[in-house]
Amino acid sequence: MCCIGCRAAVEWIATLGLQDYYRLRDTPAQRALPVDDYSAWDRPQVQRLHVRRQRDGSAEACVLVEGLRCPACTWLIERALRDVPGVHDVGVNPAARRLRVVWSPDTITLSQILVRLARLGYVPHPISAEALDALGQREQRAALKRLVVAGLGMMQAMMYAVALYAGAFEGMNPSTRDFFRWIGLLVTTPVIAYSAPVFFIGAWREWRTRRLGMDTPVALAVGLVYLASIFETLRGGSQVYFDSASMFVFLLLSGRYMEMHARHRAADVVDALARLQPALAQRRAASGELETVGVHELETGDTVTIAAGSAIPADGVLLSTTCRVDEALLTGESAPRDRRCGETLVAGSIARSGPIQLRVVHIGAETVLSSIVRLAARAQQQRPRWARLGDRFAARFVAGVLVLSLATACAWLLVDPSRAFAATLAVLVVSCPCAFALSAPTALTRAMAVLARLGVLVVKPDALEKLVRANHFVFDKTGTLTHNCIELAAVTPLSNRSADACLHLAAQLEQANTHPIALAIRAATRTSSHDQASALRNVAGAGVEGEIDGHAFRLGRGSFACAIGHSSTPADDEDVVLADGSGALARFSFRETVREDAMTTIAALRRDGVGVEILSGDSASRVASLAARLGIASFRARMGPAQKLERLQALRDGGAVVAMIGDGVNDAPVLAGADVAIALGGGAQLAHSSADIVLAGDRLGALIDARALARRTLHILRQNIYWAAAYNFTLIPLAAMGWISPWLAAIGMSTSSLFVIFNALRIAAPRKASVDVAADVNLAAAIRPVPA
C-alpha cells in the first residue's frame, strides 16, 4: 500500500470477501506489505539502543523509514500517527528518511506504533549503518536501471525518428512510415512504462497535496506527448513525437541520478555517528575475567576495559588513575585531554593511552553521543524549506498552458474543427515546459559535476543559490581553520643559553615520544638529533625527564620542570618549560597549525565584502591568537553547540544569510541551523548529512572556487529561464493561431531544450584554481626566537 487511498481500497476488497485476490496474485513484491512482527522492538535489550526515556515518563525513538520520499509522505505519516492514542509527538524528516516519535509507554508500545506505520506501507528500520547502506544501494540500482532503459530507448527512438524525418522530405510510402512509427512506439513504451513512473508518481503526490511542483509539468509533458503520438500513429496522422518523449525522460533522469549520487556519496551524519560507537566491549565479569560482549548488553554499573586507541563504548566514570582521551570529534577540543580517576568519559571518544578501566554510567540512547545525534536530527527537521522560483513559475506556467490549449481547442472547434487537434497539439508541444523544467536541473547538474571535480560535493542543490547569497561566513576553528595538530610558535630563552641550543636539548629529551608536543618540537629542529639523552622517563600528564652529558633536564609543565631545581615557576600554563638544576632555561609556546589555504580563503572572502567570524568551543586565548593571525576581527570562544546555534539564529534574525563551515560531530546540529552548511570532509567525515556542501578534498580554498562557480551557475540558470520564457511567449501565440504545424513545434521544442542544455554546459571550472599556499606556514619562519 502506498497511501491512504490504496489502504481504503484494500479494506474495501477485504470487506467484500475478496481477499483471495491477494492469494491468487503472483507478484508478491507488489502486495500490500505483510505487516511484520515488530514485537522484538519492545524487548528491553533493543529499546535500550534506540529508545530514550524522558523525565515525564514518555519515550522517544528515532527510526529510519523506507519509502519516505517527499512532503506528502511526511504529511501522511504525521497525520496517521498523531491520532494514535498515546503518541505525543511525531516528527518526520524526509531528506534523511527519519521519523522521530514520542509516546507514553503505558498506553501504547513501540511495536504497535511501528505496525501502524508499516500498514501505511512505510517499513521502519532501526537506525544502523547496514540498514542505510542496503537502502541506498537499492535506490541506486533502481535509478541506474531506469536511466539505462531510458537512454537505450531514447537512442532507438531517435534513430527511427531520423528515418521518419528523412522520409518526410524524401517521400516515404505510408506503410513504411507507419512501420517506423509502430517500432518507435515499441521502443518508447518501456521508457514510459519503466523509467517515467517516477515522474507520474511524483506528479500524483503533488496533485494530492494540491501543490504544483516540477514533477507535474514533466509528467504532463511526457504523458501528453506520448498519448498524442499513439493517437497519431493509430489514425495515421501527420507527426509523432516518440523521440521527444524518451529524450525528455532520459535527460531528466540523468539529472536526478547525479543528484542522488552526490547525496549518497556524502555520508549520513547519524549513521556516521552511530559508527563512532564501537559494537563490542570488553566487560570484566564478576569472576574477574574479561568477556567480549555487544555494547547493547552493557548494563549500568558494569566495568569495561578499553585498550589504547579504541573508542569508548559507553558514558562512564574512569577507574584507572589517569588517561589521555581524544574528544576532538565530540567537543571540538583540539588536544587530547587528561582525565583522572573519577572523571567522566564520553562514548565515542578515543582512549589515547591504556588499557583503562571504566565503570559504565549511561548506555545506548542515554549517552552524550546519542543526544548529539538526536539534536542533529531535530535541527534538520526545523530547517526552513525554500521553494525554488523556477519551480513555482513552471507550475503557474503549466496551469496557464493547460487553460490556453483548452481555449485553442474550443476556438478552433468553432472556426475549423479539422484543424483543432493539430493546433491544440502544437500549443501543447511547442509550449512543452521542457525548457522551463530543464533550465534549473541542467544548470545545477552541470555545476555539481564540475564542482565534484574540484572536490566539492553539493548535497542539496538549493545550497548553491544560498552560497551566493550568503553574506556572513562563520567558521569553526579546530579542524576547519586549523589542522588537528600543533606546531612550535616561539622559543623564549630564560637563561644565557640560546634558543637554538634549548630547542636542541628539548628535541633530544623528546626523541622517543609520540606526544603532540614532542612531535612539534622534533619537527621544528629539523637536524637529526643524536641519541645523547639517557635515563629518559615519561611522567604522564607532566612531562619528560632525562640526562644529557651528565646533566639532568626536565621538559614539561612549568611546575614539573622547575621542581628539578626548586626554582620558581614561570607563569603561563599552556607553555612547556625546559629546566635543569639551575632553573628554567627556556619556554616553548605552541600554536595550532593553520590550514595552508585558510589565509587566502579568508582574504578572498573579505575582498568579497562578506562578514567572517569564528565560533569555537576552544579556549579564548587560542581562538584570539588564531583570529589575530588570520586577520579576523570577530570571534567567540567557549561556545557549546547550543550557544553556536543561538548565535547563528541571532545573525539570521539580523538579516544575514549565514554560511557555516565546520568539521566534527559537535558541529552537526550547528551546521543544520545555518542557511548553508559546509563541511570539510578530510578529517572526521562526519558532519556530512547536515551539510549542504562538502569540501571533500580537505581544501578550504575550494570554497572560493565553489562560490565563483555557484555565481556563474545562477547567472546561466537565469539566462535559461529568460530564454525559455522568451521562446514560449513568442511561439505559443503562433501555434495557437495554427501557423505552426506539430512537427515544426516538435523541432522548436527540441531546439529550445538543446539551447538550455548547451547553455548549461558553459559552466566550467574556473581557469585558475586558487590554491595559493600561505607563506606563514613555513615552519622555519614560524619559530621566532624572542629575546628574554
Binding site: I183, Q277, P278, A279, S310, G348
Partner: protein, 59 residues
C-alpha cells in the same frame, strides 16, 4: 528496402539482450562501486579482510 524488415527486428532483439545483460549486471553488484575495482590492480597487497566483529569506531 525490405532488408529493414529483417534488420530492425534483429536490432530490437539485440536491444533486449543488452538491457537484460545490464539488468543482470546491476542485480549482481557489478555497478555498485565503479571506483574501487579500477584501482585494485594497482595495490600490491590484498586488502585486509574485515572481520564482522571489528566494525565500528576503531578507525
Amino acid at each position: 528496402m525490405n532488408i529493414i524488415l529483417v534488420l530492425i527486428p534483429i536490432s530490437l532483439v539485440l536491444l533486449v539482450a543488452g538491457v537484460w545483460a545490464f539488468f543482470w549486471g546491476v542485480n549482481n553488484s557489478q555497478f555498485d562501486d565503479l571506483q574501487t575495482p579500477a584501482l585494485m590492480p594497482l595495490s600490491d597487497d590484498p586488502p585486509p579482510v574485515r572481520k564482522s566483529g571489528d566494525s565500528a569506531g576503531s578507525e
